[in-house]
């Protein structure tokens, strides 16, 4: 008997018929001899409607505490309805809100972090042979206030519960079949990966693959609980995200990702002296702007150029902050929000030299100029003109995946 945590998003529970479908899937898993915890989001559209009400009553700046009280009703609705649907299939089920399931968080409303999960009640429900139907996205702080976990919170709830219960697997149900080598809408030959390591998934999630949230992958990695990303429409296997030891074939490149939501800012002719970087990045950080890549060229004539990227949504504010710094430093500022970041990710890079060289050559053959480069042990990212992003992704996928030494599919 395995202990399985299943997570269904808002689209999967978007209306009564879909909730009944989820109920069938969950009951099938239980009747196959497993203990089941099912974690759900608010019904599709519900959260948006609640946010609109909060914006109205709170006139654009609703109290974060009350915002969480309001939004947490969305998942509470779903757990009650799903439990009812499971009962109708003749199986025991008990719904648990964040506070009922012992989801302890800090007090940072709208973006709370999980501190601990007191699993007593969850275990009682499971030991009684029932399915535990838990509300994703929500918790409770030390003072008994309702909190929410922020974007992607339901994935995080599901994975955290799987870790706390030492579950055998956390299944994340989505509208895609699993994790792909790249976006199939851009590269038709993109293939579903059978297995991928936590580290690769982390890089891919950070780099733009939307199927899993970075936070939930970090949890799963820390506790070693495998995640199975699979389709809510059929029962075929999806992609297992697991420990590196359990990924049998270490692909040189398991994925090509891209992100068109960044912008780049360059400070030209910055005096090359200590403290300059701090003068630029301290105010950015104070404004809550997350800087992604930073590149600084070698000094020439005592001055240097420094380039960094920020989310496009923070571009205007970041440009203003950079201009202030440049004025003070006697430098000039250039900005560009028509860029794309394209990356190749793969565990096999650790053992294979020449991946970067091959990547640069592939792009050069397509006549694509590289504006910035950033690397880690298992990924190489380049920034290029946004208009070349699809061309770059297709060329890299062809070179590293389609024609690449190893087949990305484990079944081959």
């Amino acid at each position: 008997m395995a202990l399985v945590v299943q997570k269904f998003g808002g689209t999967s529970v978007g209306d009564p018929d879909r909730i009944r479908n989820v109920a069938r899937r969950v009951v099938d898993t239980a009747r196959a001899g497993n203990q089941v915890v099912v974690c759900v989001s608010a019904m599709a559209g519900e959260t948006d409607a609640l946010v609109a009400l909060a914006q109205d009553l709170g006139q654009g700046e609703p109290s974060p505490r009350e915002y969480d009280v309001l939004l947490s009703t969305g998942e509470q609705k779903t757990i009650a309805l799903l439990a009812m649907a499971i009962h109708k299939l003749g199986h025991g089920a008990e719904s648990l809100t964040g506070w009922q399931m012992g989801m302890q968080t800090d007090g940072a409303h709208k973006r709370a972090r999980i501190r601990d999960i007191d699993c007593d009640r969850l275990r009682r429900v499971l030991d009684a042979g029932s399915i535990a139907v838990i509300a994703g996205f929500q918790g409770v702080d030390d003072d008994g206030n309702i909190t929410t976990l922020g974007r992607g919170g339901s994935d995080t709830s599901a994975v955290a519960v799987a870790c706390a219960l030492e579950a055998d697997v956390c299944e994340i149900y989505t509208d895609v079949d699993g994790v792909y080598t790249t976006d199939p809408r851009i590269v038709p030959t993109a293939r579903k990966l059978s297995r991928i390591s936590f580290d690769e998934m982390l890089e891919m999630a950070s780099l733009g693959a939307k199927v899993l949230q970075v936070r939930s992958v970090k949890f799963a990695k820390r506790y070693g609980v495998p995640i199975h990303v699979r389709s809510s429409f059929h029962t075929a296997e999806g992609t297992w995200v697991t420990r590196e030891e359990d990924v049998m074939e270490k692909l040189i490149v398991s994925g090509v990702t891209f992100n068109r939501n960044e912008a780049k800012i360059t400070l030209r002719a910055v005096k090359d002296q200590p403290g300059v970087a701090g003068r630029v990045f301290t105010p950015l950080s104070a404004a809550g702007i997350v800087v992604d890549m930073i590149v600084q060229n070698l000094s020439r004539d005592g001055s240097t150029d420094m380039t960094f990227t920020v989310p496009q949504s923070d571009y205007a504010q970041a440009l203003k902050i950079a201009q202030d710094a440049a004025d003070e430093l006697g430098a000039t500022v250039e900005g560009n929000d028509s860029i794309a970041k394209v990356s190749v990710v793969g565990l096999g890079m650790k053992d294979h030299a020449g991946v970067a060289t091959k990547m640069f050559n592939v792009l050069a053959e397509e006549g694509i100029n590289i504006q910035m480069i950033s690397t880690s042990e298992i990924k190489i990212s380049v920034v290029l003109d946004e208009k070349y992003s699809e061309l770059a992704v297709r060329a890299l996928h062809r070179a590293f995946v389609d024609d690449g030494g190893q087949d990305p599919s484990e079944e081959s």
Copy 2:
């Protein structure tokens, strides 16, 4: 500084503008130097929508536990939104769900009874100078399950909290101006009462006046907390429901009520022997049917007639049960669901003889036949043909209130 509990129903918080109106009213009360607890229902229409979802997913018989989890989201939404609206007026406010405010109930889902209220958190909010915005209708049982109090639960929540906090008053805001001597839609001369005793209000609430729930009046009576029933549209005084000692003028008749939702069943020629009543009423009780009036005539020739009334919604089932009993007892059954119960209520009856006689004469003068009679210390109820109900109410109101010895308005 007074401690005021205010309760607003679903219509008063039915949309964002109405919620803002309630916020203004609540903040005005606080700024006048009072500590304020405000208890709210779900937004109008919300509960019906949730019930429809429960009926769908639960296929007509949703789990009572999950039904409560679902329905309690309605009030949780309102408290968050009202707290936000209060913040926007520049006043502190904190919302509290049933479990957060320490509303302890038994475990009878959908109709839980309040056991205790742990006011620690409520007091902390009030002591901090904030308005406590509490969810009506909901509580939590000893095992941490969400419960709801059933029909009229928000009135009960408000009054129970007022009692637990030893509040100076519990204000119930409604769409009428207060408690009337009878329904103004039937008798245009009906007048608002300034004060009425708990016992009179209990009789009137039981007898059909819909402005307050019986349960909440019982609470207020037990703890001696006055209820002020008043309009949510203006600030004029409404009706104070209070201890008998505080009702200065004891009216002989303070109200004329009617109820057209009952039906009457007669067992004719029942053998007059011990155990017969039990044979009839035990199965009715087992079926959850509440019998209201019971009349049994004197025995004649060793047999007797027995008549009782039940809610119209239970009429068909009650008739069948009565028929089974009659078959066994060798009696016959007659039923009639075209009846009305008309009552006069007044503290002054205790000290004034002849009220019943006057009532019977008034009805006789209108040619109205009385089918059943039932009395208590402060009320007389008669059952009559439904078609005469409005005529009877008008005649009794004219005789006892319009022309009655004392003016029902305390200000006079």
